[in-house]
Point group: C2
Chain length 501, copies 2
């Protein structure tokens, strides 16, 4: 069946299923610009809902939005040694500020308009922002600065993939400045908590929250916190990161403040971000062979009403569908008016059923002349395909209850997936076997000797990476010392391994 929909089944080829789904659900498509995507209206509506929810959480915790330049002077990348290693390599470089006629009917960059210093399209904004903060911060009274920006950034990705890894992507990047190490640490963890809450309570995606190994941390950070999620093919996706930057950027850009005691000190910093990659995370967590499955709290369309009528019933059924839509739209769920579409297009009911399943409407309401005569409607759930016949005056109540139930059951199902595919492994043979197949292998919780060398060898042999060292051990025994799964050397605690997207 899903072949008819133009979607390769998950069981056949998971990567193709994902690509097919993104296109058929009308979320995004590849653009003519290398590695860049076009986010189509349905995909962008999803992003707007995610953005608004996160933005509300940031603002409720005292953050404000601002906007810094798209371009960064090349020399800024030369200032923070680790940062340049991580980011200056593959990015878009602006070298000219004019095109001119080439004399053959075409255009070339004007040799006379070459920039003295090239600019880099921001791959992330620490450097340009800390350059501003130098002027904004003099005394402890100017701290903390709690700024976020919603922006497009660009990294020249060699193997792009819609939403998960694209050259240009959309994200929010928070950049905060603090008087002490402890305040920056508190901020980094506050944000990690917001990211976790958003993933779990809005996206229905359970996460493992932890700290990155030295090898996997952000280039320029003191340490990096992460939330890691599991896909249906049992790989990990890093869904969001929150970095304690120490005083690294303050030192690189000479940002000091005068403390209440009159002492000059370097400022402490955090940065943190989630991106349109969250859309990929969402798809990989819940969707199925019929298309997008979307948690109600972020679904662009929560209810699709399909009037089923021949020409002579058309007017009556359409009017009833509109009336029902109005009743639903004037109800609210989870603090917002319901998002409802009435599909009056001239396609067949069967086509419309498929279409709205593809696009991830949470509930479908079927309404035909016989339903109207019987004063009822049929409600079908997207996740379970379960159908129920409901009296018209009970539809609103039933919709609200079903959305609650859907939100909960998507989270429960994803939690079962995560828990049942998280295992403890204590020897190298089992470890290799766990990551032997084509798919992911789930989360393997194993001992590691703490060295970058061992981390690299494990990755070479299995393609698994250390996703994180959980902040709260998944099981209390994980925090006990043991022996490295590869080298047998002492290990302080178990860490989480997985193959990652």
């Amino acid at each position: 069946m899903s072949k008819d929909l133009g979607i390769t089944p998950r069981g056949e080829n998971y990567a193709e299923w994902y690509n097919d789904l993104v296109k058929r659900a009308d979320l995004a498509e590849n653009s003519v610009v290398r590695g860049c995507m076009v986010i189509k209206p349905h995909g962008f509506a999803l992003w707007e809902l995610m953005r608004d929810a996160l933005d509300g959480m940031f603002k409720a915790s005292g953050h404000v939005n601002a906007c810094f330049p798209l371009l960064i002077p090349k020399s800024f990348f030369e200032r923070e040694a680790e940062h340049v290693e991580g980011f200056a390599k593959e990015c878009a470089i602006v070298t000219h500020h004019r095109l001119t006629a080439d004399g053959q009917g075409g255009l070339i960059p004007d040799p006379e308009a070459m920039l003295e210093e090239p600019y880099v399209i921001r791959p992330t904004s620490e450097t340009i922002i800390w350059h501003s903060y130098k002027n904004w911060i003099q005394s402890y009274r100017d701290l903390p600065i709690l700024i976020n920006q919603w922006a497009n950034v660009m990294r020249w990705e060699l193997r792009p993939r819609l939403f998960l890894r694209t050259a240009e992507f959309f994200w929010q990047e928070g950049h905060t400045a603090h008087a002490t190490y402890e305040e920056a640490e508190e901020e980094a963890l506050l944000i990690l908590g917001i990211y976790r809450r958003f993933c779990e309570e809005w996206m229905c995606v359970p996460v493992v929250a932890g700290i990155k190994s030295e090898g996997e941390k952000f280039a320029g950070a003191d340490h990096t916190y992460t939330i890691e999620t599991m896909t249906q093919d049992l790989r990990a996706i890093q869904a969001g990161t929150s970095h304690h930057l120490g005083q690294n950027f303050a030192k690189a850009f000479d940002v000091k403040y005068q403390s209440a005691e009159g002492k000059e000190e370097f400022v402490w910093a955090t940065s943190w971000g989630v991106s349109t990659r969250l859309i990929g995370t969402l798809i990989m967590a819940h969707s199925d062979d019929k298309g997008l499955v979307c948690p109600p709290r972020i679904a662009p369309v929560q209810v699709a009403i399909i009037p089923i009528a021949r020409a002579d019933d058309r007017e009556r059924v359409f009017a009833a569908a509109d009336q029902l839509a109005e009743a639903l739209r004037s109800s609210s769920w989870s603090g917002l008016p319901l998002r409802v579409k009435v599909d009056k297009s001239d396609k067949s009911p069967g086509f419309k059923f498929n279409e709205w399943e593809l696009k991830g409407s949470c509930l479908r309401i079927e309404l035909g002349p016989r339903d109207l005569d019987a004063n009822q409607a049929v409600i079908a759930r997207r996740d379970s395909s379960e159908k129920s016949t409901v009296a018209l005056d009970q539809v609103v109540a039933q919709v609200l209850a079903s959305l609650d139930s859907l939100q909960n059951s998507l989270f429960d199902r994803a939690t079962v997936l995560l828990e049942s595919n998280t295992k403890r492994v204590d020897n190298w043979e089992d470890f290799k076997a766990a990551f032997g197949g084509e798919g992911g292998g789930g989360f393997v919780v194993a001992h590691w000797d703490g060295t970058a060398e061992t981390e690299a060898r494990i990755n070479e042999e299995t393609r698994a990476t250390i996703r994180c060292i959980p902040i709260v051990p998944l099981d209390p025994a994980d925090a006990e010392p043991g022996q490295c799964v590869l080298t047998g050397r002492p290990s302080k605690q178990r860490v989480v391994f997985a193959k990652a997207y």
Copy 2:
């Protein structure tokens, strides 16, 4: 007094007044990147309110948001002849995708990572979007497409000015596709109406709506509609434009549709945009020597509560201020909860009064221990500085009434400015005299012979340009034929001249 605030008075130097205000009101600052600005949190909060209001109007009229790539292949600019003339000249060109070590501790664009075809950072997105539309449009069933995007764009401005003209700026750009000329025309006018309504009803800025002369229209348009506003120094600002693109881009990108009758036809198009320039328009329309004056509907802070207390009254006064703020925040005005700040910083009351006047809080509430004893508060209006003493249980009602009054009186005042500085001129001496001074000269409604040559000569001699040919004549007699103010040749109707920002 305004010298103490760090703001040059308008009467002394209008341009400096503007720059000082933008900085002192903490709206934006110049960045290290040539011609680019940093929009600071207070300025960005203003932009968010403007954006949300416009976005709501676009969505209510059937438009949806999407996102197209930041970069445009150079060759796309070669396809539409007028468009390339207008836009390919001063823009940012990406030529490399990697930096590499220069062997002397620095970085250079890697010669081995030169792009085969350079990219241009979008100065506007017609070309990249119509390239996508070619794949999206086959039949009349695919039309209309009503897409908008909120995006950053870049034009290499030679004389940048915060908000009014910056290299990178933020805007929305609508790009619609239609089956007929008439539908595109209807769309272009629908949007012009939304822009007018937003300017007048939200920003309190009256506009003259009209059509651009051939010389001033958008490069690639069939014709361009504009709304023109007046600054306090009597110049014009083009606040928004809506273009009927004819079939120009459809032809350049070969976008045809099959009509219901089975005929292949080129698609008709519009594009339209307003930008962060609206913030400059707003400042120039209402603000004064004390700082920003902001219409209540888009003011980031509508009410600033200043508790006035010495140490021993502090707790009691702060508690009362918080309680009042809560009462206000749970009231709504113009459909949204009131935006209220309580300033508990340790600065003096006088400092705080100035600070919130600078930042454009619509109302200030002063609350001291003696006010509390008398069960009252003092409310001061930002526009008129008028103060009134109000019983505490009447504060909410008084605030709501004052915001209404402020919204109306700002519009009325700006309308008086516009009308009293719009004059009809019938001979060349008077015309030159009108634009002779340092300032603007207002709107001069005069006859023009309709030729580009005369338009250019008038501009050379007076620096005035044709702002528009009003859709509805400002006075019925303006639509009558006459003689060109410069050449004496026949003129079909009067047009509006002004010096523009």
